[in-house]
Symmetry: C2
Subunit: 276 residues, 2 copies
DNA sequence: TTGCTCCTCACGTCACGTGAGGTGGC
DNA sequence: TTGCTCCTCACGTCACGTGAGGTGGC
């Protein structure tokens, strides 16, 4: 007299649903079980053990197809070991990814109000900016004279840029452009000045006459002209990957500025005869 | 003149496939984009930013449906914060589960050959056995006199049992049975003796005449009789949850023993007039 | 008779992936 | 002309879940 349990009882013993057990059967992980006169599936100790193995392998991350292979033949030690080694790597990678996700969420929750703005803040210092700091220090520039507003502005802009995987070679081109500017102290100081002025206009309203006045100051002082061959961050466009990439990049960066800042830049450009 | 990129270029910038972007559009995460004369989708900076937000939220674990809600209205701070808090909990739970999985796989890989047998070994000391040790020590029994073979055998059997979620109250019933035996030193010693004899028969061949001889010894000595009211582990069956559960449990435990051990137990039972 | 469990389809979920069959762009 | 990208269906994947409509067991 073989011991017999119905599918619901077996499911409860294993902590799964009856539907799951029928699914295992359908995909060939379990054979056709004994049936009661009314057609009910009946399970004994053998089937329980089989199910237990299935669940254990599942708990280690094997897919049902992999489990079918592993539990198929009797002696595939090598195969199972290989599968487990593969899964160990996958598992570790998943843990790392989830830990990064957790860090990110915790940082967001701790940083204050959670709104669209907060989501757009870069998680860490953009690589290009970190690199630029090192380069600047090597050249003996005094970074403490640059206001934190400018650092934050640059952090936002470069952070936005680095959120995308720009085509091959872009990064190097951009670095080259930066190098060319900071290799000439006059142009570097002009860049910082323009940055300061731009940052100072973050909270100005878009139709303020103040904007025109500041544009005039910048143009008269010759600061803008100094940058003309490579007009500030906004022109730091890599040459090769088609014009459309550069245009989109420019639009992207402009969009990250306030309306007043956008007008300011457009007016400066217009004064310099740059139609872009 | 709006800047325009084709779907493949945008996909590359974001590290996704064109199919994924079309999918986002189909489920309403992105609006209908501009089209070239030939019907090609065209994207500008605005769409890139939208896609970036989508990907960032996805990276934090939001489903596409959640993202649609969060990015839908302008000011649902509370909603997003709540979603993130929920995700943080989920995320931590997933990390814990994956870490447990990793431990398990590493332990298996380190333990030697990875075969079906290895998979059936309990990952840790079964709870019931740990509890029993404490109870025994409280009663002053000398545990070091019990061979490691018996501990391993019990570990296997209880480990198998505890792999299942037996019905409510089962655990307490089983503990009660164990308590009743160990509260009488004579019966406890009989239990250990039977355990030792059983363990000693693990490697005996199933048709060896040695089995009958050992059965006779055990029956003559009265050891088996002492346990008759609750015949060893194999009868540690909880009363209530229907007979079929007990029968399956018994089959399960028997199946975890070698053929010789199974015969030994069956013969002892027969001698005692127990028909089960 | 009532309520519970079981049965077998058939279709849904989630975030895309995979072709199929066809057209535009250089 | 060739090869690449794009287009739109329609169906597949993975591990089940969700009913629908019906029957058995106590």
């Amino acid at each position: 007299m073989r011991a017999q349990l119905r599918i619901g009882e077996v499911a409860a013993l294993l902590g799964v649903t009856p539907k799951a057990i029928r699914h295992y059967q359908r995909v060939g992980l379990l054979g056709e079980p004994a049936r009661s006169p009314a057609g009910y599936r009946l399970y004994g100790a053998r089937e329980l053990e089989r199910l237990l193995r299935v669940r254990r392998l599942q708990a280690m991350g094997l897919s049902l197809a992999q489990i079918r292979q592993v539990l198929g033949g009797p002696q595939q030690d090598r195969s199972l070991r290989e599968v487990l080694e593969q899964l160990l790597a996958t598992c570790s990678a998943q843990i790392r990814a989830l830990e990064a996700r957790r860090e990110r969420i915790q940082a967001l929750l701790a940083a204050g109000p959670v709104d669209a703005d907060a989501l757009d803040q870069p998680a860490a210092t953009p690589g290009m900016l970190a690199w630029a700091r090192v380069e600047l220090e090597q050249r003996g520039y005094d970074l403490s004279s640059v206001s934190s507003d400018v650092w934050e502005q640059d952090s936002r802009l470069f952070g936005l840029l680095e959120s995308f995987s720009w085509p091959e070679g872009y990064q190097e081109t951009l670095r080259e452009t930066v190098r060319q500017v900071i290799d000439e102290p006059e142009r570097y100081r002009a860049l910082v000045q323009l940055g300061e002025r731009l940052a100072g206009m973050a909270t100005v309203s878009a139709d303020s006459p103040e904007i025109e006045r500041r544009v005039e100051v910048v143009v008269r002082s010759g600061v803008a002209q100094l940058l003309a061959p490579a007009p500030a961050e906004l022109a730091a466009t890599p040459a090769p990957p088609a014009d459309s990439f550069g245009a989109v990049l420019r639009e992207l960066l402009l969009g990250a500025l306030s309306p007043a800042q956008q007008r300011f830049l457009q007016l400066v450009r217009a004064q310099l005869g740059d139609g872009g």
